[in-house]
């Protein structure tokens, strides 16, 4: 049981039980659980880095019955991102919640969400994925309603119902597959799907149900309607977790199904639909972000747009034959997802500080606040540049490779989408940043509230500098070799 694969799920679960049992010690226990979970994720990354994909069957049964866990490069990269972001959110949360009731309800739910998240990334069979998906959705909706005000409760009730609808659709797809192939293990199912082209109807129906359900959870346009109110009304650390991690988990699952399970039937024509919706999401989300009056609403719409970018990769992956060019696309897709995770978390944490300090987050009235909080403004600026995709952020490299793939496969229209989205993103980010320049002098100190500002700034810095300038290791972690693209 000391396998890092198990620890990544067991530690936060254990932490959740402990903070529930000993609410007086919630903050201390919570931060210990956060630290140890993040360490387990780092250990897992190190193991996968050295030995490649890990498999584990819990309970010692064979693949049809056991709970299968699996960590390949894609899962590990996302686990590492989610856990580092989770650690940052946890540190931030120790200073954010003051009310005792909030403290006591935040930590158990947050650790439960964390366990579900790691479980989802690492699960190796469809049923466990379903369980984790449900757990994630319920924990997320409960956390989102933590402020207890009417808007938050209404938005998150809707979020919960939408999440259930998505899960049911997914479960129907799972049921279809189970009837057809008699197994839920991802590896065995993949072989089954590939070996039975005569079951095209079942495969296609299952895929449609599962992907549609998950697209609802991933807030792909036009199924994004629930996201902006839910994310914008949650407490800042929760918004960060929802926008940076939870949405990403649903997308991860789509990618998994798309690449591992349904690859025999996901050709260009099939991939065009989600990609076109993604393109509309990029433009529409960015446009709504530009028109948003509140900082957190802006960030939430920006998430809708950023998820859209990830779907643009699907037709490019379909059109590119296996080889270095396809590896680059896959790595770029992940790089954009990771960068968005760090950047959006940093952005929301910083936005939360602005909100606490100013008492509101109306963008047009933020002048003085931006001047008073230089470190926070820096965090917004850095994570903002990563959201735009300016160099040297990870999403710059991601967009570079995305456009390169689009031109190379002759699908040049995606370049126009990326260009337009980038311009709109610059407009909405700099609309906020221009508030940082006013006539008031900046304070004498750079950092005003270290416990909150250091996590925000660190996450933003990772997205903008580390992921952009040293993204090479990601290729190694994904096991793609470094021969890609020539050089």
């Amino acid at each position: 049981m000391t396998d890092p694969l198990v620890l990544c799920i067991a530690l936060p679960l254990l932490g959740a039980m402990l903070v529930t049992a000993l609410p007086r010690w919630a903050v201390t226990l919570g931060i210990v659980a956060a630290l140890s979970t993040a360490s387990a994720a780092v250990a897992l990354t190190a193991t996968v880095w050295q030995h490649g994909t890990l498999h584990l069957m819990l309970g010692g049964w064979d693949a049809e019955l056991a709970i299968a866990l699996r960590a390949d490069g894609i899962a590990t990269a996302l686990v590492l991102m989610a856990n580092l972001v989770g650690l940052g959110i946890s540190v931030y949360a120790t200073g954010y919640f003051h009310d005792r009731i909030r403290v006591r309800s935040f930590w158990p739910l947050w650790l439960l969400l964390w366990a579900a998240l790691n479980g989802l990334f690492l699960a190796g069979d469809l049923f466990n994925l379903y369980v984790m998906l449900e757990l994630l959705g319920i924990a997320a909706a409960a956390l989102g309603a933590l402020t207890g005000n009417r808007d938050a409760v209404a938005a998150n009730l809707r979020y919960l119902l939408v999440g259930l609808l998505g899960s049911i659709s997914y479960l129907l797809g799972v049921a279809l597959l189970y009837t057809a192939y008699g197994t839920l293990d991802l590896g065995l199912l993949a072989q089954g799907v590939a070996a039975s082209p005569e079951l095209y109807g079942v495969n296609a129906a299952a895929m449609t149900l599962m992907v549609a359900g998950l697209a609802l959870k991933a807030a792909l346009f036009p199924l994004h309607f629930w996201l902006p109110p839910a994310h914008a009304n949650a407490p800042a650390p929760v918004s960060a977790a929802l926008s940076a991690l939870v949405v990403k988990a649903a997308f991860y699952l789509i990618l998994r199904l798309w690449l591992d399970l349904f690859w025999p039937i996901t050709d260009m024509a099939v991939a065009m639909l989600p990609a076109m919706l993604g393109a509309v999401a990029v433009i529409w989300g960015s446009w709504r972000a530009l028109r948003a009056e509140r900082l957190k609403l802006l960030a939430a719409y920006s998430t809708v747009a950023q998820i859209g970018y990830l779907f643009l990769f699907l037709p490019l992956l379909a059109a590119t034959p296996p080889g270095p060019a396809r590896d680059d696309l896959l790595a770029a897709l992940l790089l954009m997802a990771l960068t968005h995770g760090f950047a959006k978390a940093g952005f929301f944490l910083a936005a939360g500080l602005v909100q606490t300090n100013a008492g509101h987050d109306r963008i047009d009235d933020l002048g003085g606040t931006a001047q008073r909080l230089p470190a926070t403004t820096f965090a917004i600026a850095l994570s903002g540049s990563a959201l735009i995709g300016l160099p040297p952020s990870g999403s710059f490299i991601g967009k570079w490779l995305l456009m390169q793939g689009a031109i190379a496969t002759g699908q040049w229209w995606w370049v126009i989408v990326v260009t337009a989205g980038t311009l709109l993103a610059s407009a909405y980010i700099f609309r906020v940043l221009s508030r940082a320049f006013g006539l008031e002098p900046t304070p004498l100190k750079f950092v005003t509230d270290a416990r909150a500002e250091v996590p925000a700034l660190t996450l933003a810095l990772v997205s903008v500098a580390l992921l952009g300038l040293a993204s090479g290791p990601l290729w190694t972690l994904l096991g793609l070799g470094d021969a890609g693209g020539g050089a």
């Binding site: 300016l390 980038t422 311009l423 221009s434 693209g485 050089a487």
Partner: protein, 501 residues
């Protein structure tokens, strides 16, 4: 990457201003001394490192820093003769501008933020100069945009925020076009390294159509910063920035980065021969010539001194593009040497304009009657800069115009002489009235907002000596043009290598 001297030096040169910049952000606002020490340490260290670089390049050593970002995407910083020219210019002028800015911003607010971004701005410029491939160039080009935005918006007034917004709208859109062009080119050729003579000769003729479109994208992106008409709209608007920023934008960083990029793309990506065959040079000549004349005409109509200088920049920077667009080594020398000459002359003029505004409150040409008698040294420096811009020998600007004219004749493009003559007349038309007012009109009864410094000179030392020093540079660059290591000789060296002579 490897860890020896030759492969670290270019990277260290970039870091020598980046690291102090990062620390300056953290310096408390009132720690004036600490901030000054950090600023000057960075500037002097960079100057010493660049000295080592020049010596090494002269000896024929190869300096190259390579950092693999991802497979196939490499950050390359290397020093060829062209980068040395630009690096030296920006490093020397950065040191002088830092001294000037410390004096200029004394007692003003938000200085840590200002000097932090100031250092980032120079780091980005040096990165542009040392870029060894198009990817690296694009990265630093965008960082430069981001680092200069806070400097333009620095004053925080509504005009400053507006000017900065316009600046950003132009440069980010341009940067994006550059990015698309760079990505497209990379899909055709693989990594686009800068190589003397260009890298596109081997491409089949069927791709030439695409190459023309890509050149259009790259030129649009670079033309925004180089202020080619009609992409120049941001430049006069960003005049709201403090004087040291204007000096830096016009002489060293932003505008020069655009012009330098055009030189790089024409010579080291397309190759001047291919660019000529595809008809790209002709397009560039027309744009540059139009910009030269149009900028000068607009400059004549401006009463604000800084605005007049801004339009003068629009016009003068296109000399570099004009020299690049003419086929033949002599015109290349003229364009390249103007990269340096325009820098030292224009920075002198902007320093002087800042001095007039800070010391006397004079911001408009119409208020400049008699400033020569009140501030003789500043006005002397201004006069040298202005006469140089007109092209009076023996000041630096004459050398540039001489080589450009000669290059035009050599290329068989005699119309260049007409452009140069028109531009010279227009330059005289907007600079000579200023000189006449400054030296020959009587002093007014009082200045708009006079400021007395505790000094026996006409203004504070930190403001006075920078323009005097750069004015001396303008004279020396003209008088000693034939001496070894002069800008002209270095430009000749580059031209010889580009044409494989």
């Amino acid at each position: 990457m490897s860890w020896d001297y030759a492969s670290l030096l270019p990277g260290v040169i970039v870091l020598s201003s980046l690291l102090p910049g990062v620390f300056i952000f953290l310096v408390r606002e009132e720690s004036h001394t600490l901030r000054t020490v950090l600023n000057l340490t960075g500037a002097v260290a960079k100057l010493i490192l660049v000295g080592l670089l020049i010596y090494g390049v002269w000896l024929g050593q190869v300096f190259e820093t390579r950092i693999a970002i991802a497979p196939g995407l490499t950050l390359v910083l290397n020093a060829d003769a062209l980068s040395v020219l630009f690096v030296t210019l920006s490093t020397v002028l950065w040191l002088i501008t830092t001294v000037y800015a410390i004096g200029y911003l004394e007692h003003s607010t938000n200085r840590s933020r200002f000097f932090g971004f100031f250092s980032l701005c120079v780091s980005a410029t040096v990165g542009i100069a040392l870029s060894g491939n198009l990817l690296t160039f694009v990265i630093f080009y965008e960082i430069l945009t981001l680092a200069t935005y806070p400097l333009v918006a620095h004053r925080g007034t509504p005009e400053a925020t507006r000017g900065a917004k316009i600046y950003l709208a132009y440069t980010l859109t341009g940067g994006l076009l550059l990015l698309v062009g760079a990505v497209w080119l990379r899909t055709l050729t693989g990594p686009v390294d800068f190589v003397e003579g260009g890298i596109l000769d081997d491409l089949p003729a069927s791709l030439h159509g695409q190459l023309v479109v890509i050149f259009g994208l790259l030129l649009a992106g670079l033309g925004v910063k180089a202020a080619l008409v009609p992409l120049h709209g941001w430049l006069p608007q960003s005049m709201v920035a403090p004087a040291p920023v204007s000096s830096l934008l016009h002489a060293v960083a932003v505008v020069k980065a655009g012009a330098f990029g055009i030189v790089r793309v024409v010579y080291d990506v397309y190759g001047v021969t291919l660019a000529g065959e595809l008809g790209l040079l002709a397009v560039l000549s027309v744009l540059a010539s139009f910009t030269i004349v149009y900028g000068s005409i607009l400059a004549m109509t401006q009463d604000g001194l800084k605005k007049r200088l801004a339009y003068s920049t629009v016009s003068q920077v296109s000399y570099i593009a004009l020299g690049t667009s003419l086929l033949g080594p002599v015109a290349t020398v003229g364009g390249l040497v103007h990269l340096v000459h325009q820098g030292i002359m224009k920075i002198t003029l902007f320093f002087c304009a800042g001095n007039y505004a800070e010391t006397l409150g004079v911001a408009n040409v119409s208020q400049m009657d008699g400033v020569g008698r009140r501030m003789p040294l500043t006005t002397l420096a201004f006069t040298i800069g202005a006469l140089g811009m007109i092209g009076i020998p023996p000041i630096a600007g004459f050398v540039s115009k001489w080589y450009l004219g000669l290059g035009g004749v050599e290329a068989g493009q005699h119309w260049v002489l007409v452009i140069l003559a028109t531009s010279t007349l227009l330059n005289a038309g907007y600079f000579l009235p200023i000189l006449y007012r400054a030296w020959f009109r009587p002093l007014p009864a009082s200045w708009p907002k006079e400021h007395h410094f505790q000094t026996r000179f006409e203004t504070m030392g930190a403001l006075l000596w920078p323009p005097v020093i750069t004015a001396v540079f303008c004279l020396l660059a003209g008088l000693l043009a034939a001496a070894p290591f002069s800008p002209l000789e270095w430009a000749r060296l580059i031209a010889q290598r580009e044409y494989g002579l």
